[in-house]
Symmetry: C2
Subunit: 368 residues, 2 copies
């Protein structure tokens, strides 16, 4: 992972040998096709967006890419986590095959995490793998899901159960797109930002503590710093462990609880970031229960997340048996155990397979 | 690619850095679980077979793997290319999720190329990738599809359009399973064997010319030699070019024509090897039309393939416009052109993007 600074734009590189790629971070450059075009190897490209984002930004991106002699098409998907399914992937396949798109074509994902995950998975599996480019337009996708190559769709029995590790050729994060993001989604994205501080960067955590109000008010400088720092954190961890054999798992802090909440409530009712927010509070409380974290520190986590305007309690209708059973279905679960990411202190997370599930149930889950 | 010889078994290694794997070739070792078990990293394994192969060999493989403390389940799929679909892949996902199979589980493909391609693709995409093992039970899959990591399913608009490059942990080719293989399928497998001779090994081609009758009579030594030589050929080419950026494309000799035939006739009516057989005859005739191969040599190819008991003429109901249009949909096609593998001599193939499609149509396709 390296970083260099220009006047308009900063570029971070995710170091993954022959699959390395740049993340361009800046403002108001969506129509700058010259940034995108070098990453399109063939002549065919398809911009895939959703019904919410397409009316806002599809025209800019399309016009920016005109004049390069591309066979450029687009596809607009329905919006929402409930459409993150194999069926939507089939819609993408059909569109590409009907347009005679070859193995040297490129997909461009323009939208949030759902669009990015699906376009990445379609790219990973169309004709055994074609190129793709990420243009994330939500805070969540700019700071998290567009970086690192996790792609996939949900299954009725679990979130992101079907997918692949597949790296984009390039990521463009334009902070100006956050101006059209609903408040609820901005806050949901902030959950993953707080996560980087909690698991790996106490200094950033303290900075966040002092700047939450600025971020929520969409201060441009604060947002730029948030995106850049988050991407650097994520890129550094991913470069060490692309396929999550070890250290990368700490990025799942809060996600074991969070995925269970999302699955139980039905995809799309709770936003991913909201479920992760509650999950992080619970993971901090579990770290406390395991004797690792002080109750003051667990309380600090809860308060910080509440100040972000995020939920801190799991849904009341989720009973403890269901909660535990769903956590056992999480991908991170080894057979017969549940894997948790715990905090040994604020700013330092680790992976544990040794949580006492009975104690968890009686001490934490049943209490909520 | 290396090879060492033991009393019962030969092992070839496919050299792909950290994704290298052994191909064990021998007779009557399906129940030798000790050969398989070292390649199972977790405790959960699922043997996936089809309705034809399961009654013959599933019990042997299952019993061989007992006593290793595995959580071993199985799944029997319907038999045939027409079931090589996304729907069948979903059946596999459902089965694994219902059994709570984790990311450290292993799939074992027991069957022909269709089973192997689908199990490989399910493994590539279940929880972003789990381990899999190939136990091919047809000549075609032993000499071709189980080696090299091409996995996938068909789409109504094209064969193998959805898939991934994903390498198995190990391949076991037991020639005894060929004793239960129908004649038609043995011959279909032979098409790919002849292909290795035509594209890259004239000596092997001459050996085949002198031993076709022995192979068709299922002479054990002849079959063992065929499997080993074919696997060495394929492993050598794959090790040079895993993702088919260059040389690997010669393995598609006959396949541009062949896939068009399969797509036009509906999957499963013509066997893959039968379509490839006709495709190789047409590719040899095209090489002749392009002034590369003598008409004697093209005639030799046609006669050799006919002696294998394979078809040498395309289906009459396939008109030339449809034929060309379907070839343009082949994955090997770049936008606007059709990529062919041609012979510059017997035993030497190369990739050409420069075939004159009008001449092809008038000189070859319309004639058939």
């Amino acid at each position: 992972m390296s970083s260099d600074t220009g006047p308009l734009l900063e570029t971070i590189t995710v170091d993954l040998d022959d699959r390395s790629y740049p993340i361009h971070i800046g403002a108001d450059f969506l129509s700058d096709g010259a940034l995108i075009q070098p990453h399109i190897r063939g002549t065919q490209a398809c911009i895939i967006s959703n019904e919410t984002v397409a009316p806002l930004y599809l025209k800019q991106v399309t016009e920016g890419l005109s004049g390069f002699g591309l066979d450029l098409i687009s596809l607009v998907l329905p919006n929402g986590e409930e459409f993150k399914t194999q069926d939507t992937i089939s819609t993408i396949y059909d569109h590409l095959l009907e347009a005679n798109f070859s193995r040297s074509s490129t997909l461009i994902a323009l939208g949030g995490g759902v669009v990015g995950d699906m376009v990445g998975f379609a790219a990973a599996t169309y004709q055994r793998g074609i190129d793709f480019i990420q243009i994330p337009t939500t805070l969540l996708s700019q700071v998290d899901s567009s970086v690192g190559g996790k792609t996939g769709v949900n299954h009725p029995l679990g979130k992101n159960m079907i997918g692949a590790f597949y790296q984009p050729r390039c990521v463009l994060a334009d902070s100006l797109t956050l101006n059209t993001l609903p408040d609820r989604e901005l806050k949901a994205g902030l959950a993953e930002v707080v996560k980087y501080g909690l698991i790996n960067n106490k200094e950033f955590l303290e900075w966040l503590d002092g700047n939450i109000e600025k971020i929520l008010a969409r201060d441009a400088d604060a947002l730029a710093y948030v995106i850049k720092t988050s991407c650097v954190e994520k890129a550094t961890i991913v470069a060490q462990d692309e396929k999550e054999a070890g250290i990368r798992a700490i990025l799942n802090f809060g996600h074991t609880f969070g995925h269970a909440i999302e699955t139980a409530m039905g995809y799309g009712k709770w936003l991913h970031g909201e479920a992760v927010a509650v999950g992080m509070v619970m993971a901090a409380e579990l770290s406390c229960l395991e004797g690792l974290l002080s109750s003051d520190d667990a309380g600090y986590v809860k308060k910080l997340i509440a100040r972000c305007g995020l939920p801190v309690e799991p849904p009341q209708e989720l009973d403890s048996d269901t909660f535990l059973a769903l956590m056992g279905k999480d991908k991170k679960a080894e057979a017969g155990t549940i894997r948790f990411i715990l905090l040994e202190q604020l700013g330092k997370a680790f992976v544990s397979d040794e949580v006492d599930l009975e104690r968890l149930k009686s001490g934490l889950i049943s209490r909520n």
